[in-house]
Structures are given as C-alpha cells and as structure tokens.
C-alpha cells in the first residue's frame, strides 16, 4: 500500500483544524474498510490519514429528547445490538442486518458508512481515469452499466452504496457536522450532493468538516418501517436496489409516508412523488403501484440496467405494503 503519515487527534476540534490545514492531502479514517481499498487501488492517494476512531466523544449511542443520537464513530455492530433499535427503529435494524458482513460491521462506523465513496466498476478501477477522478470521460455511460443508476444519471451514473442512508432518511434523521469554526445540523437528505452539484465529492462536507453525530427522531406512535434490499448474493453484496419506507396510517388513510431508494441514483433517492400521491389516500395496492410507476417515469436507464426499473417498482410496492396497513 502507498505509504502515508498517520495522525491521531486528541479532540474533534483538533481533527477539524488539521484537516482544514492539510486540505485534500489528508483524509480522515475510521474503520478503514472503504478508504484502504481506495488507497490500495490507487483511487485515493492521501499524504496523511487522520484516525477519528479513537475519539471517545464520537462513539456514543444515547436517547435524548426522544431522539436517538449516534456518534459518528459508533461501529455498525455496536449500533446493531443497541437494545432500543428493534423496538423503535426497525428500519435501521433491518438495514444493518443486510449491510456488508459481520467483520465489516465490527470495524465500520456510522459516519464511515454515510461518507463511503460510490460504487462504480470504473471509478474503483485503477486503469480508468474517469471524469469523477479528474478525467474527461464517463466510461460507465456506454460501458457495462448493470450496477449503475437509473435516475439522475446523466453526468455520472454512480450509485450511492449506503444501506443506512436510505433508512436514516426515511426516519428524517439529521446529521451534525463539526468544522474548525462551527457546528451545523442539517437533514441527512441534504447532506448528499448530486454529480451535477459537485462531480468529485458526494457530500456537503467542507474542508475541515467531519460528521460527528446522527440524530434520529423517535417515530410517532403507530409508525411502521421496513428496509428491503435486493441483491444477487446473500451477503457481502451491495444493493442492486433497496427501499426504506416509514409510514403511518391514521383512520384508514395514509397520514405519513417517507420512501427512499438505494442503488438507483447517485444519492439516496427520496421518492417524493410517491409520498405525495399517497398522502390522505387509502392504502391500496393499486395506489402503491401507480405511485411507484410515477416515480419511475423519470427513469433514464442505460443499456445494461433497465431491469432496475422493475426491481425498484417491486421494492417500493412491497415496502409500502409492509408499512401501510
């Protein structure tokens, strides 16, 4: 592996200052499972890496003001065994159980999962200098596109690989970002950037900023949630398509619904159109199908991924059926 220097900050503030000062030559590391692959494959070439994992202030899970507060450096396996998860945050539990493998969950962190770089056969390949890596061409657009995006895919059809992100967004999670000067709290949904907004980065993190906490509000009574993941292999496989759904039926009509797709777009894709169509409606399968159809009307599949339209439709309908009863 390409050598680098290694630093361990004493505090979040110190970490932020260091990252700001070093600019792009420094990269934060947590569990390392994604970053080290990138370094080994020559996709990332940091001069120094900054270990955030030993900052005790970032590895907490607690409930506060009805919300679950998860430190960015909480490992996925710690979160998975958190007692309240099964009762109130079933979507998260389901997402975690399908995520990567036990060994990765043991070291991988919540922040690392949300900040992991995209999956794309070309982006990850040392021999392709694609547009996202500073080249001029996107090789996926007319290459092998079976795993790529069907929505918002005009510039770069990478898919956002996170299982947790759709689950968190369906629960209206917020993220707390700490920078050298200030902290800011924003909805996780606004954390991600489309390639059109910034081709080389996927998040709004500014130089020196790190994701320190995820806050998940406790769902209202009667809310149900599910995370469905469609993949080719039973474990250790990213989603071809996934669907996170949270919703509530009140007096026979849909009172609340959030539907978020993974594996179909460069960011976790919020199916707002479907949500809006169903609000106030009776929860019936025909309506679900119509809503899913409306969302997918915008799909612009590439030569190899048309199948994802049907798979996404199925997952949306099944997720809504499971949740809206």
């Amino acid at each position: 592996m390409h050598p680098f220097r290694y630093a361990e900050p004493e505090s979040v503030a110190e970490a932020c200052r260091f990252l700001k000062r070093q600019g792009t030559s420094a990269m934060p590391i947590a569990g390392g499972t994604d970053l080290l692959s990138e370094i080994k494959d020559g996709v990332a070439k940091p001069e120094s890496v900054l270990n955030l994992k030993r900052l005790p202030s970032l590895a907490h899970i607690r409930e506060q003001d009805g919300a679950l507060r998860i430190g960015g450096m909480t490992t996925l396996s710690q979160l998975q065994v958190y007692p309240v998860l099964r009762r109130n945050f079933r979507i998260i539990e389901e997402a975690l159980s399908t995520l990567a493998t036990p060994q990765i969950r043991a070291v991988g962190t919540v922040a690392g999962n949300l900040c992991q770089r995209p999956r794309c056969l070309y982006y990850r390949h040392p021999l392709f200098l694609c547009a996202k890596k500073g080249g001029t061409t996107c090789f996926a657009l007319d290459g092998d596109s079976r795993y790529h995006a069907i929505l918002q895919n005009d510039l770069c059809p990478m898919v956002h690989p996170s299982d947790l992100a759709p689950a968190f967004i369906a629960l209206e999670a917020q993220v707390l970002l700490a920078g050298p000067e200030e902290k800011r709290l924003l909805p996780l949904e606004e954390f991600f950037l489309l390639p059109g907004q910034n081709l080389s980065r996927e998040t709004v993190l500014k130089p020196g900023e790190i994701l320190v906490e995820v806050r998940v509000p406790k769902p209202k009574a009667g809310t149900r949630g599910t995370y469905l993941k469609f993949r080719e292999r039973g474990a250790g496989d990213f989603a071809l398509v996934s669907a996170a759904c949270s919703g509530r039926v009140l007096r026979g009509t849909v009172a609340e619904l959030r539907l978020v797709l993974g594996g179909v777009a460069p960011i976790p894709f919020r199916a707002r159109q479907a949500e809006e169509m169903l609000m106030g409606q009776r929860p019936k399968k025909e309506f679900f199908a119509a809503a899913a159809q409306a969302v997918l009307a915008a799909a612009t599949p590439l030569s190899g991924n048309r199948y994802k339209i049907e798979a996404a439709r199925t997952l949306m309908v099944r997720a809504m059926q499971a949740v809206l009863k």
Partner: protein, 655 residues
C-alpha cells in the same frame, strides 16, 4: 515491507507500447480479414477440431423433426482462496522451486528446465499445502520468473499474485457459444446430434485443446445415437486468457446439451425425466463399431461406438435422484404456480471421463519400526486426495491406516506422477498405490513363508501379522515379518498405465433442482437440490460428499451470479475481486442432498471412479431447466442474473 519496494519499482519502469487492434468477441476475431493476434490467423490450429461417429448428414436425413438452438456461457474464474505463489532458490546449479501446482513432475519440472536451460535433474519442485486448485494453477510461469530473478540476485525470490492478478492473469473458464442441432426420428429416437462450439481463448493456448475436446463429450456420448458430431473452434482474442478449470469444457458443452434436450422433451410431449430415461446412454455404450484396435487402451473420452462402459449407473442416478426430489409427485407443467413467486423443477444429466491419465507411479515402503510410507508424485490440491490414496494403500496392505503415512508434492522424494487433472487421481494414482501395496504384501508373505517353510495356502494375513496353521501354529508379528526383508525388499516402486482395453471408463451424474423465481425482482432462490452420482465405489464418503456439495455450490455461482466482466470498449476486466465476481457465500447454500450409487467399477482401484469434476457439470442446466419450469422462459445464456430474467419477463408496471 520489501514487497512494496517491488511495487513502487513497477511505477518507475517506462514501457513504450505499440497499441494493436484488439478483439474481445471471438466472432469478430475469427473473420478472415481480422488482424492476426498470432501468425496464422486467429483460429487456433487454423481449423476446428472435428469428432464424428456415424454421419450426422444421414442422421438428419432420417429425422422427422430437427431442433436447433444456440447457447452461450460467460468468463468464469476458479478463484481458489490461496493466490498463486512461487518461491525459488538456487544452490549452485541446482534449483528448488516451491509453488502452488497441479503437476510438479509432468508440468513444472520440465517447463522450468526448458525455461532456464538446465537439465531436469537439477530442478526440484515442491508443492506445499494447496489452497484450492479446481483445475486451475497449472502454469509454471511464476516459478520460472522467480528462478530467473533468484539467479540474477543470488538470493531466494518470492512472488505472490494479488487477488486482482488471480482473476485477470490466472486462467479462466473459456466463454463459449454452442450451436446444437438434434434430429428426432419417427419413433422418437435420436437420429443425430451435431454440436458446434466456438470458444474465446484469450491470446494464449494454455490447455485449450483439452478444453475444447472435453466440451464435445456430452454431445458425442451422453445420449444414445448412431450419429454424433462435434466441431470445436478455439479463437484467439484479447480477453484474459482462458485455461483449465474444473471439468474443462464439459460444463459449457453439457449446459447447451441439457437445456436443448429439455426443450426437445417438451416439444415431444414428454416429461424431461422420461425423455432422459429413454435416451441417455446405457451400460452397453454407443451404437457403432469399435475402431480402437483390440488390445489397445480405450479412450475414456471416445467418439466411436461399440464399446461398453466398465460401469454405468446413470439409470440409478436418475431413479434415486428423482425419487429424492419427489419428481413424479411434484413436477408440474411450466409456469403453473400462481402468484409472483413461482416454483419449478429442473434436471440435467452429466457424464465425464472416469479418470485415466498418463503413466502413474507410486512407492510404498515399510520400515522396521512398523510404519509404512506411501510416496506419490501428485499433490493434494485440497480435495483430500492423499487421504483417499492412503486409504487405498492401507486397504491393499490390509493394515491399520494409522500405521500409514503419505508423502507427496516433492519431485525429489517421489516417483514420476501425472498431473492432477481430469479427476484422475483416485483412479490412476489409486491403482498405482494399490498395486504397489499389494506387491509389498505379497513379498512379505513370500518371504515369511520361505523363512518358515510354510505354504502360502496355510498362512493368513491378519492386519500385517502372519498366522501359520501348518506345519505348526505360529504367528509372525508385523515388525518381525518386516525384519526378514532387506531394505530394498521393503520398498516397492512401480509405475502403471491406467486404463482398460475393453471398456470405456466414465463417471455419471443426475442432478435435480427446485427453484423459486421472484417474477417481480428476477431473483432466483434455489430451494432444494439433489445430486446423484455414479463414481463407482466411494473411498471416503465424508470427503466425497464434501466434493459434491462443493462442486454444486461452486457451479450455482456459475449458473446464477459469477462472471468476469470485460469492458466492451477497452477489453479491461472490470471486476477481478470477490465482491463483484460474486462467488456464493454460506447464506446462499440451499438444502442439498448428495446420493452415491456406490457400486464398484470393475476397472478402478477397489471399484472407484472419478469424482472431483463431475459434480460441476449438470448444475447450470439443471438450474436453467428449473427456471423454465417455474416461469416458462428459457435461459440459454449464463449466468442467469435477475437482470436477464426481468428483461425477459413482461413488464408489469407498463400494463
């Protein structure tokens, strides 16, 4: 870490390339005006190999109906868990190479000698424990390179492939395109089978000629017909080089054949099981006239008819396997289950050469301390060959296996032995070990009788101890007996030519799969799998089961998820890793039942026949046929991914 110095040095090497036209599709490469990758054009050998029994033209002339179809398979990687490694050390002019290998005597030693310009006697090759072979790892190149470097540096040199290199520069299973034409006569008999296969080679021959030949074996021999023809074309291309991988070309050829036969059965209104029962090859072999001169060894992959099998229990494989699957009771016509998740049953047969090889040597030595060492020049690639050979040796000597050890994988201490290929080890090496051990036993008996003045009829061998009844009652203990022999007498080294002059020796299998296809996601779940095998007598049931279960699972990956993706524009392999070349994991394991007919074959050692590769042959067609039975759509292109299934299904959402 000095390995990273070598890695950094690679970046500093300046190479100027003249970029040449490249082919990733064999159909393009074989066009007459295509740029030649090697002198002489891109069709290896200039023309296809042609193997024919009878005349398919006559057969088709007699046919009432003919059926044609085209089948394709992907680039598939063996991907043993242990990446290839070689380590070379010189001691003066004497070279020792340690490496992952499948043939230390017949492959590596001569290749190293040639590559380095030294006599083979100065080369020692050692293969320590092997982390999975699967027919792969039969190249010497890394050994030669490390030896060259070691000679230049005067120090031992080691090289290990990265996982990426394993996928890209190891050897892959040849992708294939097979066109099949089958003629059916008035009474439903098969009048002719004609198979034409084109395989993309990459730029190197490797073991291609054996692979293409093996591809035709199913078409030529699995179904009873007087007229069969196979034409196999190897085409040079610029994709990662293909070579040996478990069962060579047989999985490709028999995927095409067994899906095609399923289609014919349906067209004839026959249950797939019934069609196969009627037409699969029977113990008497193929019709026709023996062409092999009398007294000559019969090929275990023959083309000609008129030669019976040494044993053929395919009917029993079908009977036992179908019963375990509940086929008669549970089979329904295609696409008959309601709801979005549809179940279906499928089956496929397989036949494979039974395990002949080149001359096989073995040495058995009994020591004065009572231990016995078997020395074999083969390796245990992880399948358990040494355990099996030890059992055969102990059985032939009729002594406790705990007294026996086995030594192998080292050219310096073992007699010449064939390559671990073609599932030949149990058969060939087993026969050599059996005969060497039996010879030793006879020798001990002779010597003890001579010493005691006893007749051979009056002594009994009891786990090495020799009991004499007449003239006096006496027992000579094992160690005492051994002490009567000279060191040379206690050692038997022999070489045999395995095979039969009377019979075709083949192994057989019938596989049955039940799948559930989610027609809304295209996901296929295998819900039950039955593999019934005729591999003669089973030497070690646990290890044999493990081989079959492993072979089935490995090829479920071939059927459903595994493919080395090659970028269509640049030819660069895209997914040389375990994440995207999706080999099965433990949660993908279906309920899996293994059945052995376990009937001894008259030719094999203690009745054993080949086992390692046969389980990998019928899996993909059984799955494709089961998917057809579930949803009524044929998949003739591997792997059968959710994407391909959804692309074929009518889109729901579009009304």
């Amino acid at each position: 870490m000095r390995e990273e110095v070598a890695e950094a040095a690679l970046d500093l090497i300046q190479v100027e390339y003249e970029i040449l036209p490249a082919f990733f599709d064999p159909m393009q490469a074989m066009k007459p005006d295509a740029f030649s990758i090697h002198p002489g054009g891109n069709i290896a050998g200039g023309k296809p190999i042609v193997l024919e029994r009878g005349s398919v033209e006559e057969g088709f002339a007699q046919a009432e109906r003919t059926f044609e179809g085209t089948y394709t398979t992907q680039v598939h990687c063996a991907a043993g868990m242990e990446p290839r490694v070689a380590l070379a050390q010189w001691d003066g002019d004497f070279l020792t190479v340690w490496k992952s290998s499948r043939g230390i005597h017949m492959l590596d030693r001569p290749a190293l000698a040639r590559g380095l310009g030294i006599p083979a006697q100065q080369v020692r090759v050692i293969c320590p424990a092997m982390g999975g072979g699967f027919g792969s790892k039969d190249e010497t190149r890394m050994g030669t390179l490390t030896a060259l470097l070691a000679r230049k540096c005067g120090k031992p040199v080691r090289m290990e492939y990265t996982r990426q290199e394993e996928f890209v520069a190891g050897r892959t299973r040849h992708p294939s395109i097979t066109h099949l034409k089958v003629g059916i006569g008035r009474n439903g008999e098969i009048t002719a089978i004609h198979a034409r296969t084109i395989m993309s080679k990459g730029a190197y021959m490797s073991s291609g000629s054996a692979v293409i030949r093996r591809c035709g074996q199913g078409a030529l021999y699995l179904y009873q017909t007087p007229n069969a023809k196979f034409e196999g074309t190897l085409v040079y291309t610029n994709v990662p080089p293909a070579g040996s991988y478990r069962a060579l070309g047989a999985p490709q050829g028999q995927f095409a054949l067994e899906v095609h036969m399923d289609k014919i059965a349906e067209a004839l209104g026959l249950n797939p099981l019934e069609f196969r029962r009627r037409h699969h090859v029977k113990p008497e072999g193929q019709p026709g006239r023996r062409l092999t001169p009398p007294g000559e060894l019969v090929s275990d992959q023959p083309v000609e008819g008129g030669i019976p099998f040494s044993s053929n229990r395919l009917s029993e494989c079908v009977r036992l396997g179908s019963r375990a699957m509940g086929w008669q009771r549970r089979w329904r016509p295609p696409n008959s289950s309601p709801g979005p998740k549809k179940r279906g049953l499928g089956m496929a047969l397989g036949l494979y050469r039974g395990g002949l090889a080149q001359k096989a040597g073995a040495e058995v030595e009994a020591r004065l301390d009572g231990s016995v060492e078997i020395r074999v020049g083969t390796i245990d690639v992880g399948e358990g060959a040494f355990t099996t050979l030890l059992q055969i040796g102990a059985e032939a000597l009729e002594i406790e296996p705990a007294r026996v050890t086995i030594l192998g994988g080292d050219t310096a201490t073992t007699p010449e032995a064939p390559v671990t290929s073609g599932s030949s080890t149990t058969f060939s090496m087993g026969t050599a070990v059996q005969q060497a051990a039996a010879t030793l036993k006879e020798r001990i008996l002779d010597r003890v009788c001579a010493q005691l003045g006893a007749d051979r009829e009056n002594v009994k061998w009891n786990k090495g101890a020799i009991q004499m009844n007449r003239p006096t009652k006496k027992t000579v203990a094992w160690k005492q007996a051994l002490a009567l022999l000279s060191p040379e007498e206690r050692r038997v080294r022999l070489a045999i030519q395995p095979g039969s002059t009377e019979f075709v020796i083949n192994s057989f299998a019938a596989h049955f799969a039940e799948v559930e296809v989610d027609t809304e996601t295209g996901k296929v779940a295998v819900v039950k799998y039955v593999a019934a095998h005729d591999s003669g007598r089973i030497v070690n049931p646990a290890a044999a089961q493990n081989q079959v279960e492993g072979g089935v699972m490995q090829m479920l990956g071939y059927a459903l998820t595994e493919e080395l993706l090659v970028d269509p524009k640049t030819g660069i392999p895209l997914n040389g890793n375990f994440l995207e070349h999706k080999v099965p994991v433990i949660v993908d394991l279906p309920p899996l039942k293994t059945i052995f007919v376990n009937a001894p074959d008259p030719a094999g050692p203690f009745g054993a026949k080949a086992l390692g590769e046969p389980p990998s042959i019928p899996v993909a067609p059984a799955i494709s046929n089961a998917i057809y039975n579930a949803i009524g759509i044929r998949f003739q292109d591997l792997p059968i991914t959710p994407g391909k299934i959804l692309d074929q299904l009518p889109l729901k959402g579009r009304g």
